[in-house]
């Protein structure tokens, strides 16, 4: 059993007296796909924001490869191999798909203001390499044909893949996905599942927050179930599905799950 | 420098500090309800004094009578500004909102200049000219009006936001727009009222200080900036902070001018702002976690 890539120990986050996440501890095995599920308001998004550094924990530790990162600002975590996507899509509308993904290469490149203004040969070489890497990233998600399209002209499904490609461009060891299947039709969801599996096969550990049970059950190695900010179950899909506490938390969710598939 | 001279500096510092406190209050009221920094605040202070002076000279109204009239006019100005320039922006980015208040500020200043002229204007003291002396210091009677009215406005604002229906509705809208809307509060209207109130407070500040310092179309800039600095010192968004920040800034200015050099008195507010931004952006009374980018 190898050391965990990501660990949370006793993580708590309060919002004006209410605990969005309460004393949460879990680990993510390198190379795994771990899903975080739970009813609305369970704290999943808060957890993702805590892990990626957009909010600070009120208590507890977060460790990436056994290095404490809970005080590290969000942009620094990317340098340490963590990348994320956003549920409500934060794509750069005024750039092409290719340029969007090139922004993802930011931490793998170095040219600063002066080098950029002077167009030094080193900075030009670096930009060319970044462009090539971006094209590869786009190809991984199947968007290489749309590289020069302005982002606002892409379809919703393509935008979700674009965010993924952009996150991949930083060559992360850990990818945090925020509801990658939200708003996607069934066929697009299956395509997304295939893309995520492919990324994982390439060695990237994935943590995904997701409502879509079809996606979760089909690709996850491991599932963490949250309710009211606490862990109520953790384990393989088979174990979690049979867990009474999980069924209880989701009582009445069956209808919603069917609506997701429509 | 002896004790009574320092006391004198303290006293005059508290007088100007009271004005800064009122300006700071205006900033705070609008910041709480819109998250925006209202650059027009200082111009409303200027407008209050200028309109008051005009009413006094041209209509012969006694100062205490023209105060409500001038305040009402400036409050109307605040209302119109909000309706015409702020409200039409459906989902403004913070930069857009700030830019618009800058535009409102310069438009207000230009409008006042065109209608009331560029010359300095004054108001007579509200209750006579015999200085009051005690404990080794002398104060003009207007200074007592400044203290008294500032206190009254502070208390009145506090009571308004704590007890009145409209005040509580405004606080609700400021705390959580969506939730407030769900319980039937017209959130857009709340922003409008915050502009009206801030304009009124600004006008009061302008009216009570003019008998002491004269006014002209250019005073708004400095007063606005110093009031903002005071608000930041006390903690932007904190009503008590506005009072504390204003008084402390007034004291710092007065003491540094008296004890160090009076030439660069105006720089004190700027230095204070930078120090606050560097060391404790939440100000003296604000909560530390609020503002990280």
């Amino acid at each position: 059993m190898s050391a965990p890539l990501l660990e949370a120990r006793g993580v708590t986050r309060m919002f004006a007296g209410l605990a969005a996440v309460q004393d949460l501890s879990f680990a993510v095995t390198p190379g795994a796909i771990k899903a975080v599920i739970g009813p609305n308001g369970a704290g999943k998004t808060t957890l993702l924001n805590l892990l990626s550094g957009f909010i600070e924990p009120s208590a507890g530790e977060i460790r990436l490869e056994n290095r404490r990162i809970d005080a590290m600002p969000a942009h620094a975590r990317v340098r340490h191999g963590m990348a994320r996507t956003f549920q409500n899509l934060q794509v750069f509308g005024r750039m092409t798909a290719l340029e969007n993904v090139m922004v993802g290469r930011h931490v793998r490149t170095r040219a600063g203001f002066i080098a950029g203004m002077l167009r030094t040969p080193a900075s030009r070489r670096e930009s060319a390499a970044a462009r090539a890497a971006a094209v590869k990233s786009l190809a991984l998600v199947g968007l290489d044909g749309r590289a020069d399209t302005q982002a606002t002209d892409l379809s919703f499904g393509e935008l979700k893949l674009l965010e993924l490609a952009r996150a991949l461009a930083s060559e992360p060891r850990l990818l945090l996905l925020d509801e990658p299947a939200a708003g996607l039709a069934m066929a697009e969801t299956d395509r997304m599942a295939g893309v995520i599996r492919g990324i994982n096969a390439g060695g990237v550990t994935v943590v995904l927050v997701e409502h879509n049970m079809r996606l979760v059950m089909s690709i996850s190695h491991d599932i963490l179930v949250l309710n009211f900010g606490r862990r109520i179950a953790e384990g393989s899909p088979a174990i979690v599905q049979a867990e009474p506490a999980v069924i209880e938390a989701y009582l009445g969710r069956d209808d919603d799950a069917r609506a997701d598939d429509a | 420098m002896d004790g009574s001279q320092i006391l004198q500096l303290v006293a005059s510092g508290l007088v100007t500090g009271s004005i800064y406190a009122l300006v700071a209050l205006g900033f705070t009221v609008i910041f709480k309800s819109t998250d925006a920094i209202n650059f027009a605040q200082g111009e409303w202070v200027m407008a209050g004094g200028m309109i008051g002076a005009f009413l006094h000279v041209n209509l012969g109204l006694a100062p205490l009578l023209l105060v409500p009239v001038a305040v009402a006019i400036v409050a109307l100005l605040g209302l119109v500004s909000e309706r015409l320039a702020i409200h039409p922006l459906k989902t403004p980015s913070p930069m857009l909102l700030t830019l618009i208040t800058i535009a409102v500020a310069i438009t207000t200043r230009a409008a006042v200049m065109l209608t009331l002229g560029k010359a300095p204007a004054g108001l007579p003291s509200f209750s006579g000219n015999d200085n009051i002396a005690f404990a080794g210091i002398t104060l003009p009677p207007q200074a007592l009006w400044v203290f008294g009215i500032t206190l009254a406005v502070m208390i009145g604002t506090h009571v308004f936001f704590q007890k009145s229906l409209l005040g509580r509705a405004m606080r609700a809208a400021a705390a959580d727009r969506e939730a407030a809307g769900l319980v039937g509060i017209n959130v857009g209207r709340m922003a409008m009222w915050s502009f009206v109130i801030a304009a009124a407070i600004g006008a009061i500040a302008g009216l009570i200080i003019t008998p002491l310092t004269l006014t002209s179309v250019n005073v708004g800039l400095m007063l606005g900036f110093k009031g903002f600095s005071a608000a930041m010192l006390g903690g932007l968004g904190n009503l008590h902070g506005a009072l504390l920040g204003g008084l402390v800034l007034g004291l710092l200015e007065s003491l540094s001018a008296g004890l160090l050099s009076s030439q660069f008195k105006d720089a004190v507010a700027f230095v204070v702002l930078l120090i606050v931004l560097f060391l404790r952006p939440a100000g003296l009374l604000g909560r530390a976690s609020t503002e990280r980018a």
Binding site: F54, P73, H75, V78, A83, Q90, F92, G93, R94, M95, T96, E99, V103, G104, H106, V107, A111, F113, M117, R119, S123, E126, S127, Q150, T152, A167 | D35, A36, I37, F39, L84, A85, P88, L89, S93, P94, M95, L96, T98, L99, I100, A103, A105, I106, T107, A111, L114, L221, F225, F228, M232, D266, A267, F270, L274, L277, F278, P281, R292, A293
Partner: protein, 325 residues
Amino acid sequence: MDSPVSSNSVSRNSYRVFAVVWALLLLFPLAAPNNFILNLGISWFISLALAGSLNLLMGYAGQISLSHAAFYGLGAYASGVLSAKFGVSPWLGLCAAIVLTGVAAFLIGWPSLKLRGHYLAMATLGFNVIMSVLFVELRGLTGGPNGLVGVPSLSLFGYEIGADIRFYLFAWFVVGLLMLLVLNLLDSRMGRALRALSTSELAAKANGIDVHAVKLGVFVLSAVMAGIAGFLYVHLNNFASPENFDFVASVMLLVVVALGGTGTYWGPFLGALLHVVLPEALRAFADFEILVYGVSLVLVLLFFPGGLSGAIARLWRLVGRGAAR
């Protein structure tokens, strides 16, 4: 700034257009009927440096500076005072202008930009107010309210650059270089980081961009550009006076940049034109000048957030679509 969602990419085309425009500007002195018009052309170059630098800050970094005139003035007075009062070579004065504006911007920007919200706007307002006070009060250095006189003209290899076609060509070169550097910047890694954070700071952070550092870098860069513009100004006019660098001047810059259109490379070209032309056009209505600025800013912000260049771009796209049918 909420422009209509047009691309802000830099392409081969952008460079070609820039080269053509800049080459055409060499013809202006031939067309200018007299020295007054030629000097308006020189003023346009200086205004372009100012508008271009402010646009980088507003249109890309999304920050408001109410002290660009102060940086302009600081650059002018730095070089002016050193060369007029201390006989220092203006070229060293240029270095002083760059260093002083850069350091001042860093000190103001570092704490202000760490915070969410528009504290930079207020901090820069304060800075402008203070600088205005200093320009007037430090009479021994600056000449006080009557201004600084006796500032020498520039000379290159013994050849004096007077206020005519010689300065036009000099300004053409310097500002051309500055605008080229800006174009290069927008096309580079930092330029992409800047364009990213102008759309979504959240996503920029999530992609490893240190938003604070980039904003600070842009603020310093834009202040230095304004300082260089000041250097040009003071050695063109051999004079500097505090009233050109006060808060009203800063606001006017803001207005013309917004009118010209923020967030695009070409907006400042129009903004600079307005900056030169409007004061002349409004000279007859001096008292109304500020009212015009205020009202037009409100109108632009409410109805034409992309400014003039945004409106022209939209028209272009409409025409293009019509022609394609």
